[in-house]
């Protein structure tokens, strides 16, 4: 009898759980403290955003850059990250992604298009506007296919404007000086060797004359 009650209780509990579970949804939050970043051209930079979930169900999230920024992306940490339920903004978990700014400003090169270059930086600063998006991945999504209707997906985003900084520099002639110094050094070496040879010849002649 007691066993029956227990079994009945368990059955009711399982049914209740099955009814309640599909009605629970997970949430996602994002925390950020910069909306633009200044990066010199051709350098790799990493940014960290924080994700949190103050809601009662744990959630899986993925970080993504908007289309305008994906071309710069070098690496993104953790394809999918689990955020435990009740994670407040103070306990937000960091997600890092790295990008490399392209070489966008034209250089004035005197030799072979890539040597003896100078950069005046007269052009306007180039911006890559976009956003960082944190997408909540629902486990139910895959199961819902074929039910007829629209499945739903949720994300939160923060704006990110990547400003590529032009680094001005004069034409650097070091290479030319180095080449001239090398030639001078080689000629000096040759001359010193020739001088030794001449000295040796001179001393041999003197010995012969003495004999």
């Amino acid at each position: 009898m007691i066993g029956d009650k227990k079994t009945r209780g368990m059955f009711v509990f399982i049914i209740a759980l099955m009814l309640v579970l599909p009605m629970v949804s997970a949430g996602v939050g994002i925390s950020w403290d910069k909306e633009s970043t200044l990066v010199p051209e051709g350098t790799k930079t990493c940014l960290t955003y924080k994700v949190y979930n103050p809601w009662p169900t744990e959630s899986y999230v993925q970080i993504k850059l908007s289309d305008g920024l994906t071309s710069l992306l070098v690496s993104a940490e953790a394809e999918t990250k689990l955020i435990p339920a009740e994670t407040s903004s103070e306990e937000a978990m960091p997600i890092t992604f790295c990008f490399k700014t392209p070489t966008v400003y034209e250089k004035d090169c005197a030799l072979f298009g890539s040597l003896l270059c100078k950069q005046d930086c007269l052009e306007e600063m180039i911006n890559f506007p976009g956003e960082v998006e944190v997408i909540e991945l629902s486990e139910e999504e895959a199961q819902r296919g074929g039910s007829g209707g629209s499945t739903t997906q949720m994300s939160v985003s923060a704006p990110l404007n990547i400003k590529v900084q032009c680094v001005a520099h004069k034409r650097n002639y070091s290479l030319v000086y180095l080449v001239i110094a090398l030639i001078a050094g080689i000629l000096l070496l040759v001359n010193i060797l020739n001088r030794r040879k001449l000295k040796e010849k001179g001393s041999k002649k003197k010995i012969k004359k003495r004999r």
Binding site: D33, Y52, S89, T151
Partner: protein, 195 residues
């Protein structure tokens, strides 16, 4: 002969020295400035954070049910009036653990499509949103067709508030039968930022 060589060597040594000095000068090895200043830094970090959650019904997807008679105009999604006082059960909550108001953007990944790749045009799936919900809000008169690009619907939703949605579907008479599906994306962003 030896004297000539001596002169040439002297010249070469001179050139070599000049070149080395120039290399150092070019790369600024000799220039060192020592400035002594008293700096006082001023710093402020502005942080923003926001969090959102679907209502359970919105999380479970938008279902229009079985349609047996065609054509139909503006059939309701199953939870359009499922809440208390005929309010909508499709809503997104903005968490109180946030310090910025939230704007919402919505889009569809594709038009409703069945397993045989028949398409129900995107113009046929419409929505309306409001920051409150009752029998008349969000209103059918304010319906907008879904688009592939994100469009704003719901602006400056304060923390601890909700943004409500209703969805409707038109199906023309010639529409082939089948289970039609797509995915709607909802994006929450800091108020004032474009989609």
């Amino acid at each position: 002969m030896v004297k000539k060589l001596n002169l040439l060597n002297l010249l070469l040594v001179f050139i070599l020295c000049i070149c080395i000095i120039l290399i150092f000068l070019e790369n600024g090895f000799f220039i060192q400035g020592f400035a002594v200043e008293g700096d006082v830094y001023s710093n402020v970090t502005i942080s923003k954070y926001l969090s959102i959650e679907f209502s359970p019904e919105l999380s479970n997807g938008i279902v229009f049910g079985n349609v047996t008679f065609l054509p139909v105009i503006s059939i309701n999604a199953s939870e359009n009036y499922g809440g208390s006082s005929d309010s909508s059960n499709y809503y997104i909550q903005v968490s109180s653990d946030g310090n910025t108001a939230v704007d919402f953007c919505i889009n569809a990944n594709v038009a409703l499509t069945n397993q045989y790749l028949d398409v129900l045009g995107l113009d046929n799936e419409t929505y309306s949103c409001s920051n409150e919900s009752n029998l008349s809000l969000p209103s059918l008169s304010g319906e907008t067709p879904l688009t592939l690009g994100f469009v704003k619907c719901g602006e400056s939703i304060a923390p601890s508030s909700n943004n409500y949605y209703r969805f409707w579907l038109d199906i023309p008479a010639a529409q082939p039968s089948g289970d039609y599906n797509n995915t709607l994306s909802f994006k929450g962003l800091s108020s004032g930022v474009s989609c």
